[in-house]
């Protein structure tokens, strides 16, 4: 018996929802989700007896299509379009069509009409095959709140066209960026899903563009360094403490190829700049030889496009390593009282590290304690506690 591909159920759920939404229209999104779930349950109940079919993906989508037709035949309004739909259901999709269906679904979920804060959740739910519960846990919100977010988004979808509007591409990329960051700091599956979808975009002639390659490069160059971020006990390691031989060389190579492809056109996006920074880290043989001056310069340009205090903080860290702790401290203190950073743990954590290097242990401890009073992940909390001691 052949083993099932990892995440087959989840991936196939996304495929079924995407394909059935194309055939039946966005109005029937909930029906598409229901029959995808039904098909998976049927597999779970049947395959232990009959074995896994030769093409489990095709089996699942066929079962879902049959179930959808069954349900639709009970609807009075169905008869007019019955033949067209039945015919569309009969034909199996080619792999290329399946990809197109997923892309179209992604664009639908990131449509400008959908509330911004609902786009990530909706994309994860419909294209990614994640459950509402899994999404809620990753976002640290109540399941009912996540469900509400998704229901509102679905309501907005009902009347939309499922045509791939390229003007939504930026909104799609923004959604993937948020999805990746959510995954990078928490649920790794979300980061993997963001990479998978970015790869889809970068491979399709209709959607590939320099900034798509830049986004994919950023994801790959960040993810490649994931395996070195934690020690054996799950504690966070500083960049300078990480074992770089654990970084994923193949992923770094793919990221650098994508970065090459992004160097085209006349638009310099934040994805280009962030990918450039990630590449500088990924290609440095050790912490000391990192090109911090180049990184600081990229943060300057990022800050010109997006004057966010978080970028200013990262810029201060780069200046610290490029020019020394005094220069870094000056840059960090310039934003110390920024209202948006008052509950942001990384600001006092950075100031603490700076003061420690400058030899003021008391001030350093004070800042680390301040960082601990802000909200952060369990791994970050353990890291900060280590600094206070």
């Amino acid at each position: 018996m052949n083993d099932l591909v990892d995440h087959l159920f989840r991936r196939q759920s996304g495929q079924i929802v995407s394909t059935l939404t194309r055939i039946l229209g966005p109005r029937h999104l909930s029906l598409a989700e229901d029959v995808a779930q039904d098909a998976l349950v049927k597999a779970l109940q049947q395959w232990p007896h009959t074995g896994v079919p030769d093409n489990p993906g095709a089996w699942l989508i066929q079962v879902a299509k049959n179930r959808a037709l069954d349900l639709l035949r009970r609807e009075a309004s169905f008869s007019a379009k019955a033949l067209d739909i039945a015919r569309a259901m009969e034909r199996p999709e080619s792999p290329a069509e399946e990809m197109d269906d997923q892309l179209a679904m992604m664009f639908l979920c990131c449509h400008p009409e959908i509330p911004r804060e609902a786009r990530v959740a909706l994309t994860l739910k419909t294209v990614g095959g994640f459950s509402t519960g899994e999404i809620a846990r990753a976002f640290l919100i109540q399941e009912t709140a996540a469900a509400q977010r998704i229901v509102r988004a679905k309501r907005a979808i009902r009347d939309l066209d499922l045509t791939l509007e390229l003007k939504s591409l930026d909104s799609v990329l923004e959604t993937l960026y948020l999805m990746f960051n959510e995954g990078y700091s928490g649920d790794r599956d979300f980061a993997e899903e963001a990479i998978r979808l970015a790869r889809l975009l970068a491979a399709q002639p209709a959607t590939r563009a320099p900034h798509v390659h830049a986004l994919l490069a950023l994801f790959l160059l960040q993810s490649a360094r994931g395996p070195g971020r934690m020690d054996a006990e799950g504690g966070l390691l500083l960049l300078s403490e990480q074992d770089r031989s654990l970084w994923n060389g193949a992923m770094i190579a793919e990221g650098l190829r994508q970065l090459d492809l992004s160097a085209d056109g006349d638009r310099l996006t934040t994805y280009h700049l962030e990918a450039g920074i990630a590449a500088a880290h990924a290609t440095a043989t050790d912490f000391a030889s990192t090109d911090w001056a180049y990184i600081a310069e990229q943060y300057d340009r990022l800050y010109e496009i997006n004057a966010s205090p978080v970028i200013a903080l990262n810029r201060a860290v780069a200046i610290w390593h490029a020019e020394g702790a005094e220069a870094g401290l000056a840059a960090a203190e310039a934003i110390e009282h920024h209202p948006a950073l008052q509950r942001y743990h990384l600001l006092p954590a950075t100031l603490g590290s700076l003061w420690r290097e400058l030899g003021d242990r008391e001030k350093a401890a004070e800042y680390f304690r301040k960082a601990l009073s802000c909200e952060c992940s369990a791994a970050e909390r353990r890291f900060l506690k280590r600094q206070v001691e």
Binding site: S13, Q37, H49
Partner: protein, 114 residues
């Protein structure tokens, strides 16, 4: 060796699982089945169709036929495994790590000998 029938009572609780959870449970279900097959225990196994069935009853010399049995109760037998075991104790032992019991009942019945 005696033969035992494991009746798998279906459950609607699978429907609340996420796709990823379902795949994990299927993987457990499959390795359970494989273990029994490798040990030569499974004589036969089948899934029964979900929404078809007939129930026949004699009434005043006539045969009354109804669709069923699923119309009356949600707790229907959805499939079965016919296995070899030394005793009820062993049949229970072989069944207890089947992941289905987290969702629905497994009923074990010994096949009557001559």
């Amino acid at each position: 060796m005696e033969s035992y029938l494991l009746l798998i009572h279906e459950s609607d609780r699978y429907a609340n699982l996420s796709p990823e959870e379902m795949q994990a449970i299927f993987a457990r279900y499959r390795s359970w089945g494989q273990k029994l097959r490798d040990a030569g225990r499974i004589i036969n196994s089948n899934k029964l169709e979900d929404s078809t069935g007939r129930v026949l009853r004699g009434k005043n010399g006539a045969v009354q036929i109804t669709d069923g049995p699923f119309t009356e109760t949600k707790d229907v037998v959805g499939g079965y495994f016919l296995i070899n075991a030394e005793s009820y104790e062993e049949a229970v032992e072989l069944s207890r790590d089947c992941p289905h019991i987290d969702f629905g009942a497994i009923e074990i019945r010994r096949i009557q000998k001559m």
